[in-house]
């Protein structure tokens, strides 16, 4: 009776599970469809929980497949079906992975199964388990102890009272009753175990960074020598980034001296960069400005976070040749130029300009850092209608300059002639530093067009705020 229930329940959701798996596997051309839909999971179980080792094995596993997920604290599963062809068969892949684990200093339990949970449960129970197709899966997992599924202790205890110790026994129980007594979650796990429902796992994402060190036999003091020593490290970094199609925006070089002291030399970039020669140029720029407190004993290079970097396409034509060079931003040369200026003059020295919605004149213009995502994509020209009285000056003083007064008239090397105005600007009155001003366009004694304002609140002082250029 129980067996019949199982068979019924097996037959119906099977189709659903296959449908779910369809988009997950990419079928290689020409292979039989049945084989291409299947998955094959390799599970790793460490004898002792070791999060550091697990992370290392996770990184190792990513060499074999992108579908790696960790089962902390001691498990790891990876889908290998898609990679079998690349390694020339399952056996070479398995051997290569085992060798990689040994090299990492561990010989964990490895199992193979069509579902991640089955592989994991088998690895945890410590039995040699290599099931390659789904037909033999149910019979193979039936022998595994239920404890390997790591259900809550009270569930396992109640199941053991019923005499249910093995997976096979649990699979034979009626579904509805099982769900009512032990909850939906264990039932869901049983379905995933035998591929009746999809088992979607978050893939492992490793936050990679580059780190390399170099010790000197003799202490170095000369900047040129230090740069020379830095060169191979930067080359390594360049290769590291190139292989990952990534760039970095932050790179630190730590120069260690005697007595545990060190000097940090940091390069920050506006756009992700990956070319070693440019890093060297920038470090040369940076190091030249640092006074070292003493000779350097060792170097350490640390990258910031890796960022994906769109490959730069170089224009076929030189700039301005047949309209070559592309738009200003797309040519890599222009970014290099901006970086060079930033390195030498400081990070805040180079910026773009952008209009902002603000009634307050100071707030309407903002400088835009090259690191800003809007840089190079800022809105184009906005042709605001020019009303003579409301024209804006071309130059703005960052802080308005107080003007002298004579008999109530503002003076700037002499009396100002007011031409247009007033234009009343009031904003942010709800804040303490709100502005309430009357702006005038004026001409000074030399004939220069200026933009001045008079405070609306006492003491009604006059200020110079802009020049028309």
């Amino acid at each position: 009776m129980a067996a019949r229930v199982l068979r019924q329940s097996l037959s119906v959701p099977q189709a659903a599970a296959t449908a779910l798996q369809l988009p997950l596997a990419i079928a290689p051309a020409g292979s039989p469809p049945a084989a291409s839909l299947s998955q094959l999971w390799l599970a790793v179980h460490l004898p002792q929980p070791d999060p550091v080792l697990l992370q290392r094995l996770g990184v190792l596993a990513q060499r074999f497949t992108p579908r790696v997920s960790l089962e902390p604290p001691d498990g790891l599963v990876l889908e290998v079906q898609g990679s079998v062809a690349l390694f020339g068969g399952l056996a070479p892949l398995y051997r290569a992975f085992r060798a990689g684990c040994r090299a990492a200093g561990s010989s964990p339990m490895l199992t193979l199964a069509p579902t991640p949970l089955a592989a994991l449960a088998a690895a945890r129970s410590g039995v040699s388990f290599k099931v390659l197709d789904q037909q033999h899966l149910v019979s193979a997992v039936s022998a595994l102890p239920l404890a390997a599924l790591r259900w809550p202790p009270q569930v396992l205890q109640r199941l053991s009272k019923l005499g249910v110790y093995r997976v096979g026994h649990a699979l034979r129980l009626p579904r509805a009753g099982f769900a009512r007594r032990f909850g939906r979650e264990p039932l869901q796990m049983l379905d995933q175990l035998v591929a009746r429902s999809a088992d979607l796992r978050p893939p492992l994402r490793v936050a990679e960074r580059f780190r390399a060190q170099r010790q000197f036999v003799r202490e170095r003091e000369d900047h040129a020598q230090i740069l020379q020593a830095l060169q191979p490290l930067l080359k390594q970094l360049g290769e590291f980034l190139e292989a990952r199609q990534c760039g970095i925006t932050r790179l630190t070089c730590r120069l260690r001296h005697r007595n545990q002291t060190h000097t940090d030399c940091v390069v920050r970039l506006a756009q992700p960069e990956a070319v070693a020669a440019r890093f060297l140029e920038w470090f040369a720029e940076r190091l030249g400005r640092i006074a070292l407190p003493g000779p350097v004993r060792s170097l350490e290079l640390r990258s910031g976070e890796l960022l994906s970097r769109a490959p730069v396409h170089e224009s076929l034509w030189q700039p301005s040749e047949h309209g070559g060079g592309g738009a200003a931003g797309s040519a890599s040369g222009s970014l290099e130029f901006i970086e060079r200026l930033r390195m030498r003059l400081g990070e805040l020295a180079v910026h773009g300009l952008i209009c902002q919605d603000s009634h307050c004149p100071e707030g309407a213009s903002r400088s835009l850092s090259p690191a800003d995502p809007n840089f190079r994509h800022a809105a184009g020209a906005i042709r605001a209608p020019q009303i003579p009285g409301q024209a804006r000056p071309l130059w703005l003083l960052e802080t308005p300059q107080l003007l002298r007064e004579r008999a109530g008239w503002p003076q700037l090397d002499g009396p100002l002639r007011l031409r247009h105005g007033p234009e009343r600007i009031e904003s942010q009155w709800w804040e303490a530093h709100g502005v309430a001003r009357d702006y005038y366009h004026a001409t000074d004694v030399h004939g220069i067009a200026v933009w001045v304002f008079r405070e609306r609140q006492p003491p009604h002082r006059w200020f110079l705020h802009g020049l028309s250029g």
Binding site: A328, L353, R392, S468
Partner: protein, 220 residues
Amino acid sequence: MNALARLLEHPGIWRGRSLTRIDTLSSGFPELDARLAGGGWPKTGLVEILATHLGSGELRLLLPLLAALTQRPQARWCTWIAPPLMPYAPALAARGVNLSRILVVRAPQDMQWAPEWATEQALICGACDIVLTWITQPLKPRIVRRLQLATQRGRTLAFVLRPWSARIAQQPSHALLRLGIEPQRNGDRSGVRLSILKSRGGAQGEWWLDLDAAQAAAGV
């Protein structure tokens, strides 16, 4: 006669007038275009503008050119180096300048060399259409020549804006063009007095120009 014409085409032969056939860009002021060699600003090269005061009208003189250059689809950077004050984005946008092509470079106070160095970098990199540099300190003729050569390398147009003093005006210049600008009132109308102090392949002269009227006429 035919042989002579062919001989004169030899690249090694330099004739005074040959430079008048330079590529030019309209300044947006018909009166100015008529007086400049080739009928406008040179497309590449160094132009010095000496202004008696900051705000004499030197920027308004360049605005039509900046608007035309930055609005092209293939526009490169328009770089402002060491501007004396903050360029005001809404005013520039209102006059048709495409802000996404503008790059402002500020020179830290303690780096005297920064404006010259940054200008040279901007000129040779080939990523700029036009470079405006404000240099207040004395500029050696050797540096001006160097910048002039740099404009050829990067095919860039450079404007060096300097204060107009008698001493600077007397210095010889390697620039293609040297203009003086002074605010001057003509009756009730305010405008500028423009002087062409040096023009390679053009004539010297000075006249009065109403910048605002010319811009209003051009619809800017």
